[in-house]
């Protein structure tokens, strides 16, 4: 090892391993959405390291978990049981949400912390037909929002993003790019309305977005926002 040589850039591996936190992690997450080559690199690292899962020792799981699962509701969107002792939304699943292979749905956070205290919020917008999901991430400090690529709108239509808060009224957030990831900057008012547990949804609208200010077409994807 040459002491003076700069460290190699191993950000993709560091993100896959979960070594990063704070601003470094936030920056790496933004890069996953903005840079498909980087996203692939992270995915390659996940696969490269997967052999290490062999080394976790098996431990017999408690019967109680099997019993709780046996009571599972048949609906795919079965909510978490209220007894589940989850703290507020964590961080690493948000990384997974950036990666097509490991898209996962977050539990609904039990406690809501003011969004100003957190830099990033994220949601995994699951397709209504369960064919996949698109990640969405908001930098609460700058209002910058990114939504992963999802070619959901047919030719001549637009996919529009909405937020649905406690009042149940969808509010328009922006029209998604017809190809590639979408970037938008949220106004301060929009940002203030974002908090853990609100729903983000994508509907199919006339080209350029709904003319009425409310969704007019089918909702093709939705998911809950959580603190990332």
């Amino acid at each position: 090892m040459t002491p003076d040589a700069p460290d190699p850039d191993m950000t993709a591996a560091e993100l896959a391993l979960g070594l990063l936190d704070g601003e470094e992690r936030a920056a790496a997450l933004r890069r996953v959405l903005a840079d498909p080559a980087f996203a692939r690199e992270v995915e390659e690292w996940r696969q490269r390291l997967a052999g290490l899962f062999d080394d976790y020792p098996e431990v017999a799981a408690p019967e109680s978990v099997a019993a709780r699962l046996a009571q599972l509701d048949a609906r795919p969107a079965a909510p978490s049981r209220p007894g589940l002792r989850w703290p507020i939304a964590g961080v690493v699943t948000a990384i997974a949400a950036m990666l097509a292979l490991f898209l996962v749905v977050r539990p609904i956070p039990q406690a809501v912390t003011p969004p100003a205290a957190h830099r990033m919020m994220a949601a995994s917008l699951v397709m209504s037909d369960r064919s996949g999901a698109m990640p969405a991430i908001v930098d609460m400090t700058t209002g910058e929002m990114r939504v992963g690529e999802a070619a959901v709108a047919p030719a001549g239509k637009s996919a529009q993003l909405w937020m649905i808060g406690g009042d149940g009224v969808p509010k328009p957030m922006g029209v998604l790019a017809s190809a590639g990831p979408s970037r938008m900057t949220l106004a301060a008012g929009q940002r203030a309305a974002l908090k853990a547990g609100i729903t983000l949804a994508v509907s199919i609208e006339p080209l350029g977005g709904s003319p009425t200010g409310l969704p007019t077409g089918p909702v093709v994807a939705s998911g809950k926002l959580s603190i990332a």
């Binding site: 979960g18 490269r48 052999g51 080394d55 098996e58 989850w86 939304a89 961080v91 699943t93």
Partner: protein, 189 residues
């Protein structure tokens, strides 16, 4: 997956159960649970460090699997890696959301970062896993130990540096150089 000594058959059976789970077959979720819960609980317990939390996380992991199994693509990743990744991420989420972890991992989750695998475990490794382990063995001890600890315990650079009593910059250097060497070794093999 102790039900068989043939890893290929075990993988095929798990893939099939996972695909059926994706089609909202509740019995298939029970099959996935039976085939994988010991491994996934081992992961949750190791990272969470306490049994009651690991149980809650495990339950949440299988709820997530139920919701997301439809997105599993059999050709892209081994089923157990896909499931184990969900478990590891959920457990890390729990630990980081709580803001601290127990000072000492509980005894039940042995210190696998240092443990030598037994012959059965080695025999069940597939070719990619064997290559990864060979390449890890080729690293210098500090890099190998840091990378294995980061993976098994799901810790950040800051935690890693604290545990190993090293300056943060030194720890980053050791890990980054190790990862670079690991990549070269795994990809060239």
């Amino acid at each position: 997956m102790r039900q068989t000594t043939d890893p290929a058959a075990a993988r095929a059976r798990l893939t099939e159960a996972l695909v059926r789970t994706g089609a909202e077959d509740r019995a298939a979720l029970q099959d996935v649970y039976r085939l994988t819960s010991a491994k996934l609980f081992g992961i949750c317990l190791r990272i969470c460090g306490e049994r009651s939390a690991a149980e809650d996380v495990l339950h949440d992991v299988y709820l997530t699997i139920w919701k997301r199994a439809g997105a599993y693509e059999p050709g892209r990743a081994s089923p157990i890696s896909w499931l184990a990744t969900i478990a590891r991420n959920k457990a890390i989420d729990w630990v980081r959301a709580r803001g601290a972890r127990p000072a000492h991992p509980i005894e039940e989750a042995a210190m696998v970062a240092d443990a030598s695998p037994d012959q059965r475990e080695i025999a069940e490794r597939d070719e990619e896993s064997r290559r990864l382990h060979d390449c890890l063995d080729a690293l210098d001890e500090r890099s190998r130990d840091a990378i294995r600890t980061a993976f098994f315990d799901g810790v950040t650079y800051a935690e890693l540096a604290e545990r190993k009593n090293m300056p943060l910059g030194t720890m980053k250097s050791i890990v980054r150089r190790g990862l670079l060497q690991l990549k070269g070794c795994v990809d060239d093999a």
